[in-house]
């Protein structure tokens, strides 16, 4: 029986993660692109760490930290009413950590590639840092923003290790498509596994195709 619920869950997780990260990553990338120094380098390293750490490590430590048996988990449950283990919220948090570098790096690179006089011109016209970011800088790195969004989406769709550690495989809440495929392989139910995998491959292909196609469509001459 082909159950499509894991795909809806994966889609929901990918979209929520991307949206939340987009909001967080822009100020962070803006800060990283204009600062230099020890503190900034440390932050830059921390942002890149999820690239290097195995996802299961991230998942395991989240499990330990947010377990309601522990101090932090109990505190959060008491005051916010949320449990980050075995819940969609936990997956969202884990995905955000796991995909953070994929959202931050392209935006940071894009902002750094703009000539500094661009924002100086906006400041000279009386615009605040935030107005300059939103009205002048971000509109001029549209391609990098799109890259960041699509990379994050695709990366979250493929997430497995973290979800395995902290998800608990609950249907409708934490059984994402990648976990569902894994379950079918383990059962073993190769027929279902193949179908699920095929759907996932097609979705990923579609997402990447949109990215590369839209990045090629524009033929305008760059300013610099």
């Amino acid at each position: 029986m082909i159950d499509l619920e894991p795909f809806w869950l994966t889609a929901k997780l990918a979209c929520c993660t991307t949206l939340c990260l987009f909001i967080i990553a822009i100020p962070l990338a803006a800060w990283l692109s204009r600062r230099s120094g020890l503190f900034r380098t440390v932050i830059e390293v921390l942002v890149s760490m999820p690239l290097v750490l195995p996802p299961s490590v991230i998942g395991f430590y989240l499990l330990v930290v947010f377990s309601p048996g522990g101090a932090i988990g109990a505190f959060i449950e008491q005051w916010v009413g949320l449990r980050f283990v075995f819940s969609f919220e936990g997956l969202l948090l884990a995905s955000m950590i796991y995909s953070l570098p994929f959202m931050v790096h392209p935006i940071q690179a894009g902002l750094s590639s703009l000539p500094p006089t661009l924002q100086e011109a906006a400041w000279s016209l009386g615009k605040t840092r935030w107005q300059t970011l939103v009205q002048v800088l971000l509109p001029n790195i549209r391609h990098q923003l799109l890259t960041a969004v699509v990379l994050t989406l695709a990366h979250t769709v493929g997430e497995f290790g973290v979800v395995l550690m902290i998800g608990g495989n609950i249907a409708g809440k934490t059984r994402t498509a990648s976990i569902a495929i894994y379950d079918e392989v383990e059962a073993p139910n190769y027929h279902n596994a193949n179908i699920y995998a095929l759907i996932l491959v097609c979705l990923s292909f579609l997402i990447l195709f949109i990215l590369y196609w839209s990045n090629r469509k524009r033929g305008h001459y760059p300013m610099w």
Partner: protein
Amino acid sequence: MTHQVPFRRSLRIAIFRGLLGIARVNKFSTIARVKKLLGIVLLCCSYAIGAIAQQKITVAVAANMQYTIEAIKTRYHLTDPTEISVVVGSSGQLAQQILHGAPFDIFISADTSFPQRIAQASLAVAPPRVYAQGVLVLWSVRKDILPKPDMALLMAPGITHIAIANPVTAPYGSAAQYILKKYNIYDAVAAKLVTGESITQTSQFIATGAADIGFTAKSIVISDAMKGKGVWVELNRNDYPPIEQAAVLIRQPVANPAAARFYDFLFSAKSKAIYQQFGYLVQ
């Protein structure tokens, strides 16, 4: 228990030392050089002989046996120096891997159906043999939760997550599922169930407190690693089908006598004593 240098290694050292001793008379003479060369050649040969005789074996072990197998290994090493490397996983996962050619010598499962699949695929030397019977327990590390064999407490609102092993790949998980259905509370608690990939992950969920309570193997809760953590209670053996745990010797292209020896040891009286020590039931 002292670690004894195996006989063959000491023999090798003796040969080499002896040859060196002869050569030391005149280090640079031709005769000495020939003898040194001879010594090296003999050394290589003896290593080759030793390699064939002193083999390594790989044992795939169901997660509930992960602590027990260490005790069995230690006991075995008192008389046999064979190197044993252990791979732990859920019975289903391991069976899958073996069916796809994983190079394990012995498969120690948590049930009989997975070893039987290996036998059906003509990958077993002999039919599977039961070595012990598993005991299911209900366990919690939360101070405010007290597990009881009647399981009504699982429906309480204070319990949000109940950990069980994946019923498809872990026999203890399917036993837990069985018992929940028998007590007619499966549907009521289905939404609270959190599935671990193996007994190891399930126990991890329970031990870290991530899950409020859960079903696991008795051998886990009485092991040194988990002893004293939380409270556990044995479940009524009549409430679930017996978890008969079987092992099977896997057919190899070249028969490995070391594997056969260890396999036989699993059913010896000494091993049975260890199984009982770890909370299993033995015939």
